[in-house]
Amino acid sequence: MTAGRLGRLPRADPVGALLALLRAPETARTFDEADWDAVVRVARPARLLAALRLRLERHGVFADVPERVRMHLDAERTLVRFRKQMVLWELECIARALSEFPAPLVLLKGAAYVVQGFGFAEGRLPSDVDLMVPRASLDAAERALLGAGWQTEALDPYDERYYREWSHELPPMRYPEHPLELDLHHTILPLTGRIQPKADALFADAVPIAGTRFHVLCPADQVVHAATQLFQDSDCAGRLRDLVDFDALIGELGATERFRERLVERARLHGAERPLAYALRYAGRFLGTPDALGLDSRVRGNDDARVRGNDGAERSRAMLPPIPRVARFMMDRLVPRALLPTHPDRRTPLAVRTARFALFLRSHWLRMPPALLARHAITKGWRALRAEAPSEVE
């Protein structure tokens, strides 16, 4: 090991070091074992070891990583490969169970990345299979899957109703002994939310995967979905890996002018321009998401009236509307604190807990209208109280 350099950046700021590695894997060359120790302890709970490994390998610096550290990165890749295999197996079972099913079967997120053969799927751990069918066919799909052996856990009436009436997915299903759950969706965001994506368009433009029963969303919709997952339908807490997915997806789908136009057009169609703008903003800031699409600068340009002013006609055709100043100011303070991992040995700072709570409230505010939200809060709050009471007295 090299001379003791207490307080060197990676050890003093392992989160910053992890971001630096994800952005510029060559940084790895300057790391000693103690630096790696600090970084791995942040990357593991953030579920980013596999993504880290993939980026190190792609930049040709994996061999520079100490052997002891490589063992952990290899172990994670082994786990990823196993889960990918399990995804393919689950898909085979689903295809068999729904072989007579007339409606399109659209895969979302992890399973979609796997069937499209995206390289970055090697760097993420799928935890379930997300399948979307048109709402009109939802009940039939559920019946077919239950008939073929999938099971759902019994939920209490409120949760059951929540899923069935207000959610964009059904309660998770699992085939006995299978490691992955199946989430059956009919759209990509809750029905009660502020943003209502055009489900018809999602299905109409879905792309078939050759040799399978499945479709995936069109590329631009995949990017929109990744953005809304994080910035519309979550509290962002510890979700750096979702931003890493987004960054990888942008990297994978290429940098053509046509795609850029298409992305802005689809975001507008689904009413999801704001979450897309946030995703681009923070992916650019934390991960240096390539600006090749010109989207990042466009978002910034939109923030700034002067830049917009001296722009040509082409640009005005496809633009994300600017993030309003107040929202940008708030999100710039909340998102970094809530989204980035925290130091494993320190108590979660008050600022982080506050930011996470604020974004938790925001996500609920965006997910349901005020009356429903109040009702939801009372039901859940009352249940939490009841659940807690016995354990205190025990």
Binding site: E33, D37, V69, M71, D74, A75, T78, F82
Partner: protein, 304 residues
């Protein structure tokens, strides 16, 4: 310098400071703790281990801590933390060492997927290893501990760590957790062996940890070639019975008794194939430890 050469308060100082490092062979762990009495137990059970500085890369960094709040006074508990996460529920505060051992094993089982992890004891003599895979209650731990106290080197008690490339067995020398009657059995069998304190009323009954001998700890970096696979089965008062089993059956038993066979897929298949084809495979029923140890010694010598 060895951990046993530190005073209890020096061990405690490390636990509450940068951490105490443990070198187990294939794995290194660093533990921090402010739990009273854990230092004393560690000093007993880990006395033969080299003192490792807490600086550098560790496979596992764990922290044992009393949760804050009222629980401090009412049925106190301790939590096991891994990198800011609590992978399982807290234990009662008096079972500190069992929690540390259980937690470290949990972390190792989850993180060492570059190797095939069998649920097995491993001992070695003259460079040739005996693999003792078994289900809990088969007497595997007791038999492994007995062999390790009769001239065999201990490689591992819980995890048979198999290197995928060549099916060599890698050392992961950890204290042996003896349960219930086994504790007294081992005290009689090896009066000189060092046993940690007994912890009654754990989920597995009374547990006490047997300290590995210094000869085993001295060879943490030396792998061993597998020579013998024995599926032990302790039956009270039973006659010793050794029964060869077909390699196909040994294969099935090994592969279903692994922590990560499914996960590793074809590589694990190849490793288990190498293992069973390079080893003689037996089922060993025993009622008397001394007799079983002698039989295994003879078997290893004759199979050379």
């Amino acid at each position: 310098m060895l951990i046993g050469e530190l005073s209890t308060s020096e061990v405690q100082a490390r636990l509450s400071g940068a951490g105490l490092g443990f070198e187990f062979g294939v794995a290194r762990a660093r533990v921090r703790s402010d739990v009273a009495r854990l230092a004393e137990s560690i000093r007993t059970v880990y006395s033969a281990y080299p003192l490792t500085e807490a600086e550098g890369f560790f496979d596992v960094t764990a922290r044992l801590a009393r949760p804050p709040g009222l629980r401090k006074h009412f049925r106190p508990q301790i939590s096991f933390w891994l990198d800011g996460e609590q992978p399982f529920e807290p234990f009662p505060a008096e079972t500190h060492l069992p929690l540390m051992e259980w937690g470290l094993n949990w972390a190792i089982a989850n993180r060492f997927n570059r190797h095939l992890l069998l649920h097995a004891g491993v001992v070695e003599r003259d460079g040739r290893a005996v693999l003792l895979p078994a289900l809990p209650g088969s007497g595997k731990s007791t038999l492994t501990a007995a062999l390790a106290n009769r001239g065999f080197r201990l490689l591992s008690d819980e995890f048979g760590v198999v290197r995928l490339a060549d099916a060599a067995l890698l050392p992961l020398v950890r204290p042996t957790a003896l349960k219930n009657e086994s504790i007294e059995v081992m005290r009689r069998f090896a009066p000189g062996a060092v046993l940690g304190p007994s912890f009654p009323k754990t989920r597995k009954g009374t547990v006490a940890h047997l300290a590995p001998r210094s000869e085993s700890v001295a060879k943490l970096a030396v792998p061993a070639r597998p020579a013998l696979i024995l599926f032990p089965n302790f039956t009270r008062d039973a006659e010793l019975a050794l029964e060869p089993i077909p390699k196909s059956r040994a294969f099935l038993k090994l592969s279903t008794n692994s922590f990560n066979y499914e996960l590793l897929g074809p590589e694990a298949f190849d490793a288990v194939t190498k293992l069973v084809s390079s080893c003689e495979c037996y089922r060993l029923r025993f009622g008397d430890l001394e007799e079983a140890v002698a039989k295994i010694g003879a078997l290893l010598a004759s199979s050379a």
